[in-house]
């Protein structure tokens, strides 16, 4: 459905490399996540695929259509929700939706089924101006507007940035239901914990893809044994661990530190516990854990 071949994009006369030789493809009906921090190149990739920006080099297609030659056809067929709210603030909820439906030669009624679940949540405010809506409602309206012409591919650029944990969960529930209706979805996010909700993901950093696969397989590629360690004095623990001779890496992760050790040490857990006890640590806890996507990202970044 979506295909990128060696796409690169620079800004400022070539001095800023935003997208660095990126290739990947998204299959029909897939929920594909572009996971990476600000400045990774996510928005540039989205703008290239939605024909709003020309790449410097490389080719790309959406539903088999070339992003340069067939830009008009692509624009008619895809839905795009940019990171920044870009509906008409002075139009009401209903007016915005009608406007976008009309632009795409359709009506709200024709594709109502697709947006119904989401639209009923903002319908009580349909006479309110979009500019006066709360953040969560703006987001729902923007999604409705991006869906109103029943797009084949939906591009969502950081739909959950700055959104609280509860609303983020609700948003992903909505995406799951859309996926069940057969829409191919490309979504970007800086939140690593959202990666596992996608079918496949690309981890991206400073314009480069670090890894592409299903979340499960990316986690499987993390071969070392990861440990979670905590003690009564976390600040001292960090310093003691960093000075430990068999340490490979150590970083805070929620209430624990996630720690990797050099892999040639026999019976590492006992060794570490003895070392930390000798340093005076109490309430020590240490156990092996499976890595999260965030652990994978950190490892790929620091490699």
């Amino acid at each position: 459905m979506v295909q990128l071949n060696n796409i690169s994009k620079t800004y400022n006369k070539g001095s800023t490399l935003a997208v660095d030789n990126v290739s990947f493809s998204v299959d029909k009906g897939e929920l594909f996540g572009l996971i990476g921090p600000d400045g990774a190149g996510k928005t540039s990739i989205f703008r290239i695929l939605t024909t709003l920006l020309l790449p410097d080099t490389g080719t790309a297609s959406v539903t088999g259509l070339d992003i340069i030659k067939d830009y008009k056809a692509i624009r008619n067929g895809v839905g795009y929700m940019p990171g920044r709210f870009s509906l008409y603030q002075d139009l009401t909820v209903e007016e915005n939706l009608n406007f976008f439906a009309t632009l795409f030669n359709t009506t709200i009624r024709e594709n109502y089924e697709l947006i119904k679940d989401i639209y009923i949540q903002i319908e009580p405010f349909k006479t309110r101006r979009a500019g006066k809506l709360s953040g969560g409602m703006k987001q729902k309206l923007a999604l409705c507007c991006a869906l109103i012409h029943k797009p084949t591919v939906l591009f969502l650029d950081e739909p959950t940035t700055g959104v609280d944990a509860v609303s983020r969960k609700e948003f992903w529930e909505m995406l799951k239901r859309l996926k069940e209706q057969g829409i191919t979805i490309l979504v970007s996010t800086p939140y690593m914990d959202e990666a596992t909700l996608c079918d496949r993901i690309a981890l991206i950093q400073t314009g480069k893809i670090l890894s592409i696969d299903t979340p499960e397989k990316i986690i499987k590629q993390f071969q070392e044994q990861l440990y979670a360690v905590k003690s009564g004095n976390m600040y001292k623990l960090l310093n003691d661990l960093k000075r430990y001779e068999y340490i490979s890496s150590c970083y805070p992760f929620g209430e624990f530190f996630h720690v990797l050790f050099k892999n040639n040490v026999h019976n590492i857990k006992t060794e570490v516990m003895n070392y930390l006890k000798s340093k005076g640590h109490e309430q020590l806890e240490m156990h092996s854990i499976p890595p999260t996507i965030e652990d994978c990202f950190i490892k790929l970044m620091t490699h």
């Binding site: 600000d38 953040g135 959104v163 944990a165 690593m192 970083y251």
Partner: protein
Amino acid sequence: MTTTVIKTENLTKRFGDFIAVDKISFEVHPGEIFGFLGANGAGKTTAMRMLCGLSIPSNGFATVAGYDVYKETEQIKKSIGYMSQKFSLYEDLTVTENIHFFGGIYGLSDKQIKEKSTELIQKLELEDQTKKLVKTLPLGWKQKLAFSVAIIHQPQIVFLDEPTGGVDPVTRRQFWDLIYDAADKGITVFVTTHYMDEAEYCHRVSIMVDGSIKALDSPSALKKQFSADSMDKVFYELARGAKRSDN
């Protein structure tokens, strides 16, 4: 010196008949890292604006760094540092210019500014970047610089409004190293975040829902109270019933 850096009692802010902040009471101690969590629209920003002396409360009582939030707002502004995800530095000024500008704003002498500037640039390893415009720096560097600038005048307390939004996982952790460092030097840190793993890094955490503080304790005590294995679940339990949602 006070033993509480922030103290509020039934602090309330109304806009017409909308109660944005509804009788919140809490204390923050010196050197504490205090996480101020809540769903979008819970009233965090309004509360924070009152504590920074930018918005006069409708009711209740509060002191920040020992100063009254009704009458001594100018003294409060001199005793605090502030940074947010949206506004922190001037993009069209260089690294050095930003440091000098904010040092001046916070009332440091030229000599102090010079010393601080050198120290800060060394610590952040920005030696090769001093003449670059801030807008050309990666977000993570910007945020680390912004934090260091916000505490350049050694304030009693620093307010951080979603300082790590969108920052990569490695830099996010470096940012927290800076926070720990500041707290270790006695600066109280008042921080909001949407990353629930960061809630675990705070000494104590409050969770606001619909204008009121619904829970306040250490992360471990909160997890026990809600029989949850992560702060994410604690937050979800409390915030899913929220009636308001706003930005």
